[in-house]
């Protein structure tokens, strides 16, 4: 595309998936026990969206990638240290909760305001990327609201592929039921894409990219505005871990034939 795209990736942070999570009731609603102590990662789907954004920018000279992230500033700094080694981007930080219990409408409002405030933003070149849902709230609602607030009505969710044409139009593959993809063409930016996993592998670390990114990261974190996102709006009757534990029958030192017969009978039954 002539002049390139302006690609804004929205992404929060989530606890490392290997951590044990325990809900508690905090002063402003449900929260995670020791949330501030849990190691965090960039939300996995936003992570994929960032790779795809960087790849698209690389293929379209003149493009630029921003990462707009709403998260506690200190935790975000730790996470950005890692992702900054991967792909070039400019960070726009918003200091707020990373909780899955924060209202998606509040988060969307903060993200949309941060995008609108990007100097030199040209909506005719704007592609807003993000994960199709988060690994915390897991609602799949934030990105649509960001799009609505920005006046974008070409929206795609569960995206696995975007192919841009030289005239700025593009083809999108979205996940639909039955392990299939819906194929759409869009006349061009502005558009919003909530990414599933895409097709790209995680890029290798690149120290030069890391050094270039880090020059902008610390100032961005220092400038991070506090966000008002919270859990207001919902009344939680309970938040609990599933307690069900199954009585597992262990079958060992048993001939393979016998195990196979049992499994086959179970499948057929």
């Amino acid at each position: 595309m002539t002049g390139g795209f302006q690609i804004v990736v929205c992404g929060g942070i989530v606890p490392n998936p290997l951590q044990t999570l325990e809900p508690i009731t905090g002063p402003s609603g449900p929260a995670l026990k020791n949330e501030a102590m849990l190691p965090a990662v960039l939300d996995p789907w936003a992570w994929h969206a960032l790779f795809e954004a960087a790849n698209l920018a690389k293929q379209n000279p003149g493009s630029k990638v921003w990462l707009v992230a709403l998260a506690p500033k200190a935790k975000l700094q730790q996470v950005v240290m890692t992702i900054a080694q991967k792909v070039p981007f400019e960070l726009i930080a918003i200091d707020g909760p990373a909780s899955g219990f924060a209202e998606s409408a509040d988060v969307a409002e903060e993200l949309a305001a941060a995008i609108e405030a990007i100097p030199g933003l040209d909506k005719s070149k704007l592609l807003v990327f993000g994960g199709w849902e988060s690994a915390s709230r897991g609602a799949g609602t934030t990105m649509q609201m960001v799009g609505e607030k920005l006046g974008i009505v070409d929206q795609f969710q569960g995206v696995d592929e975007l192919k841009a044409a030289p005239d700025g139009s593009f083809e999108v593959l979205e996940r639909i039921e039955g392990g299939r993809h819906q194929v759409s063409t869009c006349a061009g930016a502005p558009a919003l894409l909530g990414w599933a996993t895409g097709n790209l592998p995680e890029p290798p670390n690149n120290p030069q990219v890391g050094m270039a990114n880090m020059r902008g990261v610390m100032p961005a974190l220092q400038k991070a505005k506090p966000a008002k996102a919270g859990a207001n709006g919902a009344t939680y009757a309970s938040v609990a871990l599933p307690q069900q534990r199954r009585a597992t029958r262990i079958v060992k030192d048993t001939p393979v034939e016998e195990i196979a017969r049992e499994i086959a009978a179970w499948i057929k039954g």
Binding site: V14, L21, P30, P44, G100, F101, E103, A105, A108, A135, G138, G140, T141, M143, Q144, M145, E148, K149, V153, Q155, F156, Q157, G158, D160, E171, E174, R175, G178, G179, R180, H181, Q182, V183, S184, T185, G188, L200, P201, E202, A234, T235, A237, V239, A240, P242, R245, R246, A247, T248, R249, I250, V251, K252, D253, V256, I259, A260, R261, I263, I267
Partner: protein
């Protein structure tokens, strides 16, 4: 109870799909009168089903502009129906089509939204929804005072409504789309290039392949081709759906030996899907518990791996077979093929 509206998209033949009928049953659980709205190219058969289920009014947006699952047209249609109905509670099935627009519609209505709802009850004359957070690791029950409140129910969470169609008198809602709403055109549907259809949401059995299939076996060699054949034979013989752990599908990007039949579309848990099959058989998934949290909604679970103390299988599977998956699956396939 607030004014309840069920919104559904008509299938290509004009009828309602299973997920829409499940959402209809969920809305009926709320009790009292409800209205319905249906969107699609042809909506008569769907409207008759909604009338048969007891919808007091059926609003409709029909025409070729609304055949495509497209954000701009679907959101405009759903918004118009919700406003025409004066809806306070809007229930719809969390299909890919509705999930694309649901939050945008809630935003346009000035309302709030909850998605992936797996349970619905009424307390103090208001809906109480059950949904999961942190990728099915904790469950919350919650309600909201704000209206309109959009509730998307997860397919497979409710028994589908069953009954005879009625005769609907459709109240047509006029929605005119400008050129700006037609910048996106849906051109088709593509199935994965792996050739064989391995994802079957309607299957009775989910087969979960773990990373162990591509590791060195006791003879010190990789047997990836053999593993792929065993897995696909089982999927074919048992008419099963094929799922995978995250680490197994990630290997493609890491340059390791891979099962070519798998893509990220097969992944369950974490960044994958949360399937709801009656039975699940996990193989070679030792040590991959965090990656198969999507396993939570499988009713009967069995696992085959080499570690009797596997923390993922213990307490989570009904039966754990401590055996070599290659040997067991070969025999199982032979028995299923008989």
């Amino acid at each position: 109870m607030s004014k309840v509206l069920v919104i559904a998209f008509a299938e290509q033949d004009g009828s309602l799909g299973k997920a829409a009928l499940e959402a209809l049953a969920a809305a009926k659980q709320l009790g009292g009168e409800f209205c319905a709205g249906v969107i699609g190219e042809k909506i008569d058969a769907a409207a008759d089903m909604l009338a048969g289920a007891g919808a007091a009014k059926v609003f409709g947006v029909a025409g070729s502009d609304f055949a495509q699952p497209r954000y701009a047209s679907d959101a405009a249609a759903a918004e118009a129906i919700a406003k025409a109905a004066g809806a306070e509670i809007i229930v719809a099935a969390g299909t890919s089509r509705w999930s694309r627009v649901a939050a945008g519609v809630a935003h346009r209505l000035g309302g709030q939204i909850d998605t992936h709802v797996t349970g619905l009850a009424v307390e103090n004359d208001a809906p109480v929804v059950t949904r999961w957070y942190y990728r099915q690791r904790m469950m919350a029950q919650m309600t909201r005072a704000a209206r309109p409140w959009v509730i998307s129910v997860d397919p497979g969470s409710f028994a589908a409504w069953q009954g005879a169609p009625g005769s609907a008198s459709i109240e047509a809602v006029d929605v005119t789309l400008g050129d700006a709403a037609k910048r996106t055109q849906v051109t088709g549907v593509r199935t994965p290039s792996s050739g064989q259809q391995t994802i079957r949401p309607e299957a009775d059995v989910l087969f979960v392949a773990g990373a162990g299939w591509t590791k060195k076996q006791p003879d010190g060699q990789f047997h990836v081709a053999e593993a792929e054949k065993l897995i696909l034979d089982f999927v074919d013989n048992a008419k099963a759906s094929l799922g995978s752990s995250k680490s197994l599908v990630d290997q493609k990007g890491e340059g390791q030996a891979v099962l070519t039949c798998l893509s990220h579309l097969n992944q369950v848990g974490q960044t994958g899907s949360t399937p709801r099959h009656p039975k699940g058989l996990a193989t070679c998934c030792h040590g991959e518990e965090p990656h198969v949290v999507g396993w939570r909604f499988i009713t009967e679970r069995r696992a085959i791996n080499l570690d009797a103390n596997c923390g993922w299988a213990q307490g989570k599977a009904d039966v754990l077979y401590v055996a070599d998956s290659f040997a067991v699956m070969e025999k199982v396939n032979a028995l299923l093929a008989e």
